[in-house]
């Protein structure tokens, strides 16, 4: 693997992102495979008990970027990759809006699948973002899920 790879891009932003453009930016001469994860605002809260109309995401500026970079650096040690992009939105988002983009490119597909999955699992448990769900009646902070904590265990071996 050439030392100039992987190209890393991490951004916290209010604006939406364009999946095609971000995919295009992950093309490098050695790239054969790109795996993208896109997280969306669902129309229901976590336990599906009620509809939501919007959510607001806040984060800890500086620490968020640093934690995501730590995760990305770990993924680079584990897999040969050509590019990694993590974009996470903050602010007010509506149902079916895009929240997060994690794109990983590599020479061969399994590395891209694994690294993208790894980054998402750790982002879910380490990156300091908090969601508050809103509907007409009230707002409530989302609780962290035990299943997200457990998801990181598959990377321990």
């Amino acid at each position: 693997m050439n030392k100039k790879f992987p190209k890393v891009y991490i951004k916290i932003q209010y604006e939406d992102f364009d999946v095609s453009k971000e995919t295009q930016k992950l093309h490098h001469n050695l790239t054969g495979a790109i795996v993208n994860f896109v997280g969306l605002v669902r129309g229901h809260n976590e336990n599906d008990s009620e509809q939501i109309s919007s959510m607001t995401l806040e984060h800890y500026p500086g620490m968020t970027e640093a934690e995501i970079d730590k995760i990305v650096q770990k993924s680079i040690k584990k897999w040969d990759l050509t590019g990694i992009t993590v974009i996470h939105r903050v602010g007010k988002l509506f149902v079916s809006d895009q929240i997060v983009f994690v794109g990983v490119s590599s020479m061969h597909r399994q590395n891209a699948f694994d690294a993208c999955n790894f980054i998402m699992d750790w982002l879910k448990t380490k990156a300091p973002f908090w969601k508050v769900e809103e509907n007409n009646n009230h707002r409530s902070w989302v609780s962290s899920r035990q299943s997200d904590q457990e998801a990181t265990k598959k990377w321990e071996s």
Partner: protein
Amino acid sequence: MVIKYFSWIKEHIGKSEERIELPVNVSTIEELMLYLENLNDKYKLAFKKKDLIKIAINKSYSSIDDKINNNDEIAFFPPVTGG
């Protein structure tokens, strides 16, 4: 020192950030939390569920036993829910 609060901890305390001088006899996160809880009921409520409080010192995850200095940036927040 700067102390930052996020999510419902921020809302319980009623502010997102404050600057204080490191109090006498406070040298760890745990002692700082005790000091704050004794200020008023807002902090008591915010820090009630200790197992739900995550701590950062200078933007790195830290534990309740970690030492702190007057020029540190401390943060208290609930488990993260991004992604």
